[in-house]
């Protein structure tokens, strides 16, 4: 998976203007080459260990386990990766690849700002120019990350059109790429967009699941029973799930339920979406009856997106992964719970996965094991949460 045209079953493909098609073909070939290239793989491994700080720990959350009174809960600590989220796994891989391809400049979209920070970091590391697109709604709620990107030497472009969130940032990044395609590489931040991005980003993120499996065997002597991850575009989820797809392990993807599905203010594509073609691929999409893309809402900028990486509807269709959602309120409660009970402030995105575990763990027996992908740390969200709680910091 995927097939030659980039399809996972009926989902995926390559729906972009012609100007970008040759660049995607070039990228596909370069990536296939890099996959087989020992020196590229060695450099990536070396940087994963010495720069990102991999492997990230698999931490047994003893107090959370006790508090919920059911299954044993482990956290895969992607929040401890350099820059504070799993996004760096992919951004660094693509930055190395772009350098190898002779590109001069990296561009990226960002929602929560984590992928923007990761891309700016990758650009600084390999010595490329960097420009980041971010919706003006998101620059407001993730102001800290905007300043981080600037410190890292990137230009940050506020996007003031459409819903002013992640999807509009992707539109602008694609427009930039169309204009500067000869010198620029577009670092797509999740398992979305035209082929080969969904495949390539999944591969760069799959280090999460590979490590988790090894660590699980070492500490528990076997496979976990459940893997749980939040799903924006779906990269941290694919990163964890991919290595376990052929194993007897249940998997749950948690979307953003926002203010509740009934309100229409959410980003739960499986609960409220239908098949559509958007920003380069065919997948589930929140759209109206004419195919125009609906506005979304989530307390977490990184999950606030109208579509979902094409491998996810495929995995849902074959019943390999189960998808659910957590509301803003549930995520905020989980955010506070994990902070108080484990001393770990999670990203609001990751808090959606924690919220699902709060519901699930008590229903399971004590010999069951759950792994949560703690995709990022919550420092970026502290101000935003304070604002929601009407606290001035």
């Amino acid at each position: 998976m995927p097939d030659k045209k980039g399809y996972f079953g009926q989902y995926g493909g390559r729906f972009v203007p012609e100007t970008l098609i040759p660049a995607l073909q070039e990228l596909e070939a370069a990536y296939a080459g890099a996959k087989k290239d020992k020196s590229f793989q060695n450099e990536l491994k070396h940087l994963q260990a010495t720069y990102i700080g991999r492997p990230t720990p698999l931490y047994f959350a003893k107090r959370l386990t006790k508090h919920l009174g059911g299954a044993k809960i482990y956290l895969k600590r992607e929040d401890l990766a350099h820059t504070g989220a799993h996004k760096i796994n992919n951004a660094l891989g693509q930055a190395l690849l772009a350098k190898k391809m002779g590109k001069k400049r990296l561009i990226a979209e960002t929602g929560a700002g984590q992928h923007g920070v990761a891309t700016a970091t990758g650009a600084a590391l390999v010595g490329l120019e960097c420009e980041i697109y971010m919706g003006s709604e998101d620059t407001k709620r993730q102001a800290l990350n905007v300043f981080r990107m600037k410190l890292l030497g990137a230009d940050v472009n506020e996007v003031n059109i459409g819903s002013r969130t992640l999807k509009d940032a992707i539109n602008e990044a694609l427009r930039d790429w169309t204009t500067n395609v000869r010198t620029t590489h577009y670092v797509m931040g999740t398992v979305f967009g035209p082929h080969p991005f969904p495949m390539m980003v999944r591969d760069f993120q799959s280090v999460i699941g590979k490590e988790t499996k090894r660590q699980m065997f070492k500490t528990e002597g076997g496979l976990p029973d459940y893997l749980i991850a939040c799903v924006g575009g779906g990269s941290n989820a694919m990163g964890l799930f991919n290595e376990f797809l052929d194993d007897d392990v249940k998997m749950i993807g948690v979307e953003a339920g926002g203010k509740g599905i009934g309100t229409g203010e959410h980003a739960a594509r499986f609960a409220g979406g239908s098949l559509g073609v958007f920003q380069g691929c065919k997948s589930y999409l929140l759209q109206d009856e004419d195919g125009n893309v609906l506005g979304t809402h989530s307390v977490s900028a990184g999950l606030d997106y109208a579509s979902i990486g094409p491998e996810h509807p495929y995995l849902k269709g074959i019943k390999r992964v189960y998808y659910t959602y957590a509301t803003d309120t549930e995520a905020l409660e989980a955010f506070e719970l994990l902070s108080k009970i484990e001393g770990i402030i999670p990203a609001l995105e990751s808090a959606h996965a924690v919220a699902e575990v709060v519901k699930l763990a008590p229903k399971l027996s004590k010999n069951k094991i759950i792994v949560i992908n703690l995709s990022g740390r919550g420092d970026k969200d502290v101000q935003h949460v304070a604002r929601i709680k009407d606290i001035t910091v």
């Binding site: 203007p17 012609e18 427009r175 169309t178 204009t179 004419d290 195919g291 893309v293």
Partner: protein, 257 residues
Amino acid sequence: MNRIEDTFKRLKAENKKAFIPYIMAGDPDLEKTGEHVMVLEECGADIIELGVPFSDPLADGPTIQRAAERALKAGVTLKKIIPFVKRIRNHSRTPIVLMAYYNSVFKYGEAAFIKDAVDAGVDGAIIPDLPPEEAESFIKLSRAANISTVFLIAPTSTKERVEKIVTACSGFVYYVSITGITGSRLALDERFKKHISAVKKSADMPVAVGFGVSTPEDAAMIARLADGVIVGSAIVKKFYEHPAGAKEFIKKLREAI
């Protein structure tokens, strides 16, 4: 033969090039669009490109993005645009090509779209985010209905791709003058001239050039190299910002071509 092919044939016999203006359907509403279509015809448009507004037009620059926003605000969608074309056909025979993003067509249903479009008198479709590789069924249905499928060729298209794209095209080939989005500045360098002449050799049909043509001078330059000149953002902008001067501006474009 359909109206698009007829038009190019007639122009060729007259030793003329095609003027292909683009406007956004529903900007600011369909009644005004109807008036704009009449202005375009009066000014000598050979083919009219009608944009279908989409929430996320990623091949378009700010001018057409904003026009799409206005049209969507007015509630204009493909479902209203097709009957609108039918009304235009009461008094006009100028070929009409719809320019839509793929999700609008996908959601409508490819087969239903083609059937209804042909019934209404639409002559062709341009779908900028649908490359030939993804268009197998769309091309098949369109051929059967004698509706033209116009695909884009870009300055970055390789020789193999140019060949593939021209076989997918019918009616004419849309050559994108720049690596960029609609409304960008034109840059006619040697590379462009070489590439377009190679494209013309590969295509056994007319080649029209669009994206970035904004002045009569641009149009005149393009007309020397191509079989047709497509002008979008500049006209959309004129109709929106200086409607009184639009007619004169469009006439000048026509004369330059």
